[in-house]
């Protein structure tokens, strides 16, 4: 199967540039799967997970919102912040979640509520993506 180049860039660095089999993103209007030869497309990405597959193995990125630009042979993801699952420090992510929860309770009903909710959403996303990696790392189970 023809591969498509996935490039994930943030203003600060190029997070990933790799040939992959498929990219699945949570778009503004539902999940979008992109294969080689996809029609040109630009879509905003909300805070969410970006999944791609290389050699049958699924990998995950946490994206703090941005844009996806699709060409037939290349997908460019412009993210505000993007982290590969192996880059995420689980303990720090857990701590960020606790902090965000506390903030959300504190600012309930105030103007800061939406902001607190967004940071909670980001923290949860990070945890979820980090969790994915743990599953990958688990040694293969013996077939019985």
């Amino acid at each position: 199967m023809a591969q498509i180049t996935l490039e994930v860039v943030t203003p600060e660095r190029t997070v990933l540039e790799q040939d992959v089999d498929i990219v699945v993103a949570r778009g503004a209007e539902g999940d979008i799967g992109v294969l080689h030869g996809h029609e040109p497309l630009v879509t905003p990405l909300p805070i969410g997970e970006l999944t791609y597959r290389v050699d049958g193995e699924e990998r995950h990125l946490a994206i703090d919102g941005g844009f996806m630009q699709v060409r037939p042979d290349k997908v460019t993801v412009l993210a505000d912040v993007a982290e590969r699952s192996e880059e995420i420090d689980r303990e720090r992510a857990e701590e960020a979640r606790r902090r965000a929860e506390a903030l959300l309770i504190e600012h309930k009903g105030t103007a800061l509520e939406a902001q607190a909710a967004a940071s909670l959403q980001k923290a949860l996303l990070r945890l979820r993506v980090a969790e994915r990696r743990r599953r990958h790392e688990r040694p293969p189970q013996l077939e019985r």
């Binding site: 503004a28 879509t43 460019t76 912040v81």
Partner: protein, 287 residues
């Protein structure tokens, strides 16, 4: 002529100064390289976002988006990106001149968001209103630190506090040339330089909705890029200023050393003259 001890003291003091300026030059050089690397690292993102912005701005329906429409000008807002410190030759003065130039074009006193202590202090001496002060961001500010600056600029434009928003910063052209310049942030001018527009489909298929997401990021990224350029320019200017200072100090040391040697020579000559004068006097009385 100054005494030899006094000259020696001055030489030592100037040598100390030269040592300090030399050290500052090295530090500035390494910071300059780091800042340039960050400008490089931002390039892929810059290319993509510029491409999308150019394409979408050219779509029918995009032109009357409020963030892209020209309004009657009453007041200009300036995002002034400079440094926290000086010691960088004409860097600060050149930036201030550019800020003042843009201020003059505002019919009502301009509003300024200052990024850096130097531009802030400058604005406080003018008639312009300082609306926000983001000084002390330092060298390592990330785009997250820049975000509130962009949010405020977009908000001020949308609420009508300002009808035109400029970014004033120093563009890094080469190690020998940095140019203070003003770039229009809002309303967004569609980029026209070396852009490839593609036959993109948009999802949602409504340029207005995509712009709502895109423009704040575009503004934010423009300011961030300006900040990186300003950093690279500042450190380059400082490196050059310090290199000149070191050269000057060493030049003075050379002059003073010469002066000191002359003074010593004069002293010796004087002593010899006195001795031979004395000897002659003794000879004259002895005979």
């Amino acid at each position: 002529m100054a005494s030899r001890r006094e000259i020696r003291r001055r030489i030592r003091s100037i040598q100390n100064t030269a040592q300090i300026t030399k050290a500052m030059q090295m530090v500035a050089a390494s910071r300059m390289r780091r800042a340039q690397a960050r400008v490089q690292a931002a390039r892929p993102y810059a290319e993509s976002i510029t491409e999308i912005m150019a394409d979408i701005a050219a779509r029918p329906g995009a032109a009357d988006h409020p963030l892209l429409t020209q309004r009657e000008l009453r007041r200009i807002e300036i995002v002034a990106v400079g440094s926290d410190r000086g010691l960088a030759g004409a860097y600060v003065a050149n930036l201030n001149r550019e800020i003042a130039r843009v201020m003059q074009r505002s019919p009502e006193p301009a509003r300024v968001i200052a990024v850096g202590r130097r531009p802030r202090d400058f604005v406080l001496r003018t008639r312009a209103t300082l609306v926000a002060d983001y000084s002390g961001l330092g060298d390592h500010a990330s785009i997250v630190d820049i975000r509130p600056v962009a949010e405020q600029a977009v908000e001020d434009y949308q609420s009508g506090e300002a009808d035109l928003v400029y970014l004033v910063y120093t563009e890094f052209i080469s190690t020998l040339r940095q140019q203070a310049q003003a770039v229009q942030l809002l309303p967004v001018l569609a980029p026209t330089e070396n852009v490839v527009t593609g036959p993109w489909n948009y999802e949602p298929d409504n340029p207005g909705l995509v712009l709502q997401d895109l423009v704040p990021r575009y503004v934010e990224f423009s300011i961030y890029r300006g900040y990186l350029e300003a950093q690279a320019s500042y450190h380059t200017a400082q490196m050059l200023a310090m290199s000149n200072a070191t050269d000057n100090a060493l030049e003075i040391v050379k002059d003073l050393t010469l002066e000191m040697n002359k003074a010593r020579q004069a002293e010796i000559t004087k002593e010899i003259a006195e001795i031979s004068g004395g000897a002659e006097a003794i000879q004259a009385t002895g005979t």
